[in-house]
Subunit: 435 residues, 2 copies
Amino acid sequence: MALNVPELIRAKRQGQPLDPASLKEFIDGYVAGQVPDYQVAAFLMAVFFRGMTPEESAALTRSMVESGEQYRLEGIEGPKVDKHSTGGVGDKVSLVLVPLVASAHAIVPKVSGRGLGHTGGTLDKLSSIPGFRWELGREEFLNVLRKAGCAIIGQTDSFVPADKRLYALRDVTATVDSIPLICSSILSKKVAAGMESLVMDVKVGSGAFLEEDEEARALAAALVEVGAALGKKVSAVITQMGQPLGHAVGNALEMREALDVLRGEGPSDVRDVVLRIGGEMLLLAGLAEDAEAGRAELAKRLGDGSALEKFRQWVEAQGGDPRVADDPDMLEVSGETAVVEAREGGYIQSIATRDFGVAANLLGAGRAKLGDDVDLAVGLAVHRKVGDRVEKGDPLVTIYHRGGRSLKEAETILRGGIVAGPEKPPPLPLFPVTL
Amino acid sequence: MALNVPELIRAKRQGQPLDPASLKEFIDGYVAGQVPDYQVAAFLMAVFFRGMTPEESAALTRSMVESGEQYRLEGIEGPKVDKHSTGGVGDKVSLVLVPLVASAHAIVPKVSGRGLGHTGGTLDKLSSIPGFRWELGREEFLNVLRKAGCAIIGQTDSFVPADKRLYALRDVTATVDSIPLICSSILSKKVAAGMESLVMDVKVGSGAFLEEDEEARALAAALVEVGAALGKKVSAVITQMGQPLGHAVGNALEMREALDVLRGEGPSDVRDVVLRIGGEMLLLAGLAEDAEAGRAELAKRLGDGSALEKFRQWVEAQGGDPRVADDPDMLEVSGETAVVEAREGGYIQSIATRDFGVAANLLGAGRAKLGDDVDLAVGLAVHRKVGDRVEKGDPLVTIYHRGGRSLKEAETILRGGIVAGPEKPPPLPLFPVTL
């Protein structure tokens, strides 16, 4: 290899922008085992401190995309648009949006992750549908897209291997929370999956990866810029994660709630986030005059059954039983429940949202490390939101559980994590920051 | 291991000071193979950006000392004082100072390195003495100190292994030039060798590791501070490396020049640096009222033969032939010479000192990588200094060589690296920065 790796690290350390060819050689060398982890780790920490220009971040992203298989979708007609969330508690938006936007004639080619940490994973939620298969190769992925116009699949080993290796390394070297590295990680997977445009759902608040508005704004702006440098249309919406989205937290429970929304019902916050992001998706896809018109089109499709019909078609195309659309009881939920009640009257002041995600995981809904088993039937129904009035004894959270010590631990966390007080707190806006 | 390594890296990344126990666990884990290189690399880069307090740097140093064998010198009477140079071209100061200061009743327990990069190594220079052995274990080291009051030995594998591993990692991760890491690398070896006080010779200029006055001042100040945090007396002198020190560059040639100085002769710049640092050493060792008195004492010992007598005694104690002291021709120098002449008259404007070191290495005087052989008999005699008047055809540099292509390359470098011009340039002060 001609690349002088210490010189590349030094250049980044000194804040000099790196050229695309060097970055590509560096990433290729890493994936090929020629550049060792320790040099990449030093590089990542230098990036943490020095940042990257949008052009550098785009070049890094391209190198990562080229490290593995690309799902070229040229053979599939229609605008390819995707959405991506930075992750939250109760975030079932993709489960609704993917068929909904496909019902409006966009192609939605989604490659998703499994849940890790305190946030749930879309693939786990989909696994609650009997028969649903998301471990599909490229040909199957294309077939589903041709049949249904949308697909949600998992990552194969050959899908952006550079991202897998970099992410694992960032995780153990305290270099996860670097904006250019987050951008290239997210966008590399989207580009490799064939998207042409993307709407980012950047979550902010106590249950999100980013807790501060300014951080969320910076990440959203960077994603848009790097997307543009990649020649893709990327826009971003910053949404509230200061409390769980909707009521359901946990896999089958969230799938049920997503079906409520697809049926034109369900919690208004989930619906509003879906329509806001979906309107942007139709705009970027060239299927709506503006985001407002896109929202109206999608609201109509939630109301007239066409979203739910697309859901049936899609689920069937991925091997799932489409009857779940009309019989949510097919999504198995534990019959053992416990209720956390209000200890005193007042207004809900705050919800420790991340802790709620942790509590759901304790019950079995998520995994602490890759490879852990997930219990699809457990989770939470969060009955009250910040600002709601409660009386002593009112149910705050219903826990769907399997008994045992984890129930006690979850109860303790939940009881401490939802706080009532005498004053009505300021409302938590669903869209707290505009770009 | 109880230590959460990513959390430790994150804390350093965020600029939080680390506690000594965590640093020790981290270094112990690294040396034991429990903490992988990539986590240490990320840590080192975080230290590059965030620095360390003197207390952290001292704790890191202590952990490194404790990673290997320590040459405890309690059984040897007398104040233990050492000197250390950050490295330069033509730096033969240790060869003079070690016996000189020992002749004034200090114990000088020196563990030295071999040459690497553009600077020469003290051990290589000593190897030009017939019979001289520096690969000594602890017992032999103590015996030499008992006999002669001074010793210069090489590092064994068990000597500060943490430094060896960290240095090798820093070298390939662009984290060499971090002041706290330099401090802990230098001081760990000095402490492990048993020094109680230390005078640092921080070189500055075109032939030094640090080219800028401010960098040298910062390193010198940090070494003094970290030394104090370690409970050691450390002082620092910043000396000129904008041109080679003395005239000789190359192993046997430098050994010959050192003998000139030990004999009360030799180039005045070498002598002045020796006396300045030596005066400080006697002061720190409690053997002089002040540095000035120390200098006077040492000047006397250069003049009256007692320094040279100590040299003989020391060399004999390490297996060398003491007759070199009186017969410098025993230090073999190549008979093949070439002369670089002035192409025009004028004043010497500048000497590309690092390039002179590189040229000497090309001739065979140094090594590009550990394990390379060194030719002790080749090198340079630099006849002119910055500010000297020369006429066209005057000899500027004599090259002691073995012929071949390397001679041509060295000639080209040297010719381009010593520049004459019509104006007399400002002088290069021997002590350009005071602390």
